[in-house]
């Protein structure tokens, strides 16, 4: 066992810290509370920040240098993310492009596709959204119905996608579409579509938080060149699953850093408002301990990554853990703070350390998206515990 960062990794962390000290903008939570902040201005701020990070070579940490990456590994990526969280830096804009599509193109795309799509993706010139879920296909993703029919050199797309993060601001969408109605998994293909293609309509979808980070995308005889197919026809499901495994990564590790930061703020807030009794301390203590255990899970996964072990279905355990912790944490925060914790961030008496109300509402989404807790537990039961399956 060795959980220590290597001298190279420590050096990389120093480098990132130095760069952030010189280049970081004002803390993102302050930007969010700014009186002039709008959804559009925040999108722009994220675009600008992404370009700055890209300019410094901090995007695509673990991609080959050839594709604008740094050729680093998951440990470098985790170190970078940790430092970004500690600095309260803005999130980048092209999260799904860089988090999902980039790896998909690097592993499954053609040389030409990589050359065409990766540079503008990194430079936040083309923003990507994800078209996987459909109104009738959430947890049971493989039942998706949106169709792509070959017509000469084009696919003709029909159907509807939903929960397309950044739908409203995106330029492109990567879509899972059905190219064979009979083959449940093998009948799905992975296709790239420009959102201004005739026949494609985007509608923002307002959420419980009042924001519209998601959208719906409608396809009506939208014509997309066949060259936008990633991999082969019918390979879409396999590509998507590989790529979603990336999304999970060593997420417990970075989540623990973020929760640790917010938990420290909650502990400080409790002191400030005089809540120091043993009941309050026990609640904080439980959250602290659970977060440390999440960190241990993250360290273990990261060490396994670094040791050359790919994560398997165990990543479902991490997803369940952090998403359900998120709900307990955000709920406890509101319990401890009282009604003041329910204020929206622009309200005069709202605390400026964290947007507690928004995080509370948002926490309900964590156990639903990227595979609900129910789906994750099915996966654990089937693939890790190998329990007998319902004969149906």
């Amino acid at each position: 066992m060795d959980l220590q960062l290597s001298p190279q990794h420590l050096a990389f962390r120093e480098e990132v810290r130095g760069w952030l000290a010189a280049n970081a903008d004002r803390p993102w939570r302050e930007v969010l509370r700014g009186s002039t902040a709008t959804e559009d201005s925040l999108i722009e701020a994220r675009r600008v920040w992404q370009r700055k990070l890209h300019g410094a070579g901090y995007l695509g940490m673990d991609w080959p240098a050839e594709w604008g990456g740094r050729g680093g590994g998951p440990v470098e990526q985790a170190i970078l993310e940790t430092e970004l969280i500690e600095a309260d830096a803005p999130p980048i804009l092209n999260t799904l492009g860089i988090g999902l599509l980039g790896p998909a193109l690097i592993h499954h795309g053609s040389e030409e596709q990589r050359r065409r799509f990766i540079p503008p993706m990194l430079a936040a010139e083309e923003i990507w959204c994800q078209g996987f879920s459909e109104p009738g296909s959430g947890s049971d993703l493989a039942s998706l119905k949106a169709s792509a029919v070959l017509d000469g050199d084009d696919f003709i797309l029909n159907g509807q996608k939903v929960w397309t993060t950044f739908g409203p601001w995106a330029d492109w969408i990567f879509v899972l579409a059905r190219t064979d109605g009979k083959d449940r998994y093998g009948g799905i293909s992975f296709i790239l579509c420009k959102l201004d293609t005739p026949g494609i309509t985007v509608r923002p979808l307002r959420q419980i938080t009042g924001e519209s980070e998601f959208g719906e995308v409608f396809f009506e005889d939208a014509r997309v060149p066949r060259t936008n197919l990633v991999g082969e026809i019918g390979e879409g499901w396999r590509i998507a699953m590989t790529v979603l495994a990336y999304e999970r990564g060593a997420i417990s590790f970075t989540q623990a850093v973020q929760y640790g930061r917010d938990l420290g703020r909650l502990a400080t807030a409790c002191k400030e408002i005089g809540r120091t009794g043993s009941a309050v301390r026990e609640k904080l203590g439980r959250l602290l301990v659970e977060n440390e255990v999440m960190r241990a899970n993250g360290i273990r996964t990261l060490a396994n990554f670094a040791d050359g072990k790919a994560p398997g279905a165990e990543s479902s355990i991490e997803k369940v853990y952090w998403s359900e912790f998120d709900q307990r944490f955000r709920e406890t925060a509101l319990d401890l703070l009282g009604p003041g914790g329910q204020l929206v961030r622009t309200s005069p008496e709202a605390r400026d350390d964290c947007d507690w109300a928004r995080q509370f509402l948002w926490s309900r989404a964590e156990t639903i998206f990227s595979g609900s807790s129910e789906v994750q537990r099915n996966i654990i039961a089937k693939r890790v515990l190998k329990l007998p399956q319902d004969p149906r």
């Binding site: 979808l205 928004r358 537990r377």
Partner: protein, 350 residues
């Protein structure tokens, strides 16, 4: 012994349910919650007066209905089922205090008829446990700052809780809106240094705190009940992996747990209301228990309703989020869970 409502009470329930379905469907109140500046609709309020809801607990002399906590619970439960926005319970509680204190017939008649709104101003800080300067009353003036005054921007007068007793003050103009995540409940902060009149000692709060706890718990019950109904409808039709999702055992057990909490809340709410009306010794314990339990129960039921709906449950378009947010607001008000646990312990002599 009989748990069922009396004939009159059952009639009140059915007329209230009709009224709520007709006048207060969420499609309609949604406009108030989303677009109205104050989250308040005078027309709705007048219809409350017409139905007699505003004088439910008040004497006949001011136009009241002379009913009790059970009837209030019935009305609150039905209002919870449609997630009514507005300061209904706040108005009932403030009026109750004025009626018990005596000598406010004129104002009470205006409250009952919906022409005036009076609400309680209690919180000395927006944050729980914060030691703030207490509000004081002396030389005919009330001084201090009150937070989370419900619908203060629309109130004609405030019934202010000071360390020197309850005082009545005309609503000042200088209020600051405190926007929270619940669009159906609006609050203000108000800095007071105004002439006020003494209403009575703090002991007046004891009974309305019990009634308020039961009333809020009843609304939580309505919220749970309706949320569970919506969810049951959804899981019966939504399919995944080739069958209605309501056939999955994990979801079935989750809904059994939701029902357990809703039905147990029902037992506790109506027992608490009956205790209030009968003024038996166990009233304080029963009311505190109903509120503390229903608050936690609604948090569970509304949270799981979203979970069982999946992504769609998380959208603004669906009504679920209004219920979810209301559950949280109610859980923290009318005696938050933490305070009710202490009330219960004190009542049990532990």
């Amino acid at each position: 012994m009989r748990f069922e409502l009396s004939e009159d009470q059952a009639l009140l329930r059915s007329s209230t349910r009709d009224f709520c379905q007709r006048e207060l469907p969420i499609d309609k109140t949604r406009v108030v919650m989303e677009q109205s500046k104050d989250g308040y609709e005078p027309g709705m309020w007048r219809s409350f007066a017409d139905m007699g809801y505003l004088g439910l607990l008040l004497p006949e002399s001011v136009g009241g209905q002379v009913l009790g906590a059970i009837e209030l619970a019935v009305v609150m439960e039905e209002m919870g089922r449609v997630c009514v926005p507005g300061p209904y319970l706040d108005a009932v509680l403030a009026a109750s205090v004025l009626a018990t204190a005596g000598g406010h017939e004129q104002l009470l008649a205006e409250i009952v008829s919906g022409r005036k709104l009076v609400v309680l101003a209690r919180d000395d800080s927006p944050y729980r446990g914060n030691r703030a300067e207490p509000t004081r009353f002396s030389d005919g003036r009330v001084r201090g700052t009150k937070y989370f005054v419900p619908f203060g921007a629309r109130a004609d007068a405030l019934l202010v809780v000071t360390s020197d007793g309850l005082v009545l003050v005309d609503a000042p103009g200088n209020m600051t809106a405190l926007e929270t995540m619940d669009q159906g409940q609006r609050f203000v902060a108000v800095a007071l240094d105004h002439p006020a009149t003494f209403v009575g000692p703090l002991s007046l709060l004891e009974r309305i705190d019990q009634i308020g706890a039961v009333g809020a718990a009843a609304m939580l019950l309505g919220v749970m009940d309706r949320t569970l109904e919506i969810t049951l409808d959804y899981v019966r039709t939504r399919e995944a992996f080739g069958r209605p999702i309501g056939a999955f055992q994990v979801l079935q057990h989750r809904m059994a747990d939701m029902l357990l909490r809703a039905e147990s809340s029902r037992s506790a709410v109506y027992r608490g209301a009956w205790c209030c009306d009968t003024r038996v010794v166990e009233t304080a314990l029963a009311c505190a228990s109903a509120k503390a339990y229903a608050g936690d129960a609604a948090r569970y039921v509304c949270g799981q309703a979203i979970q069982l709906h999946g992504g769609i449950g998380f959208t603004w378009e669906l009504d679920l989020h209004f219920f979810f947010k209301r559950a949280k607001t109610l859980e923290q008000r009318y005696g938050a869970t933490e305070a009710q646990l202490e009330n219960a312990l004190a009542a049990a002599g532990y």
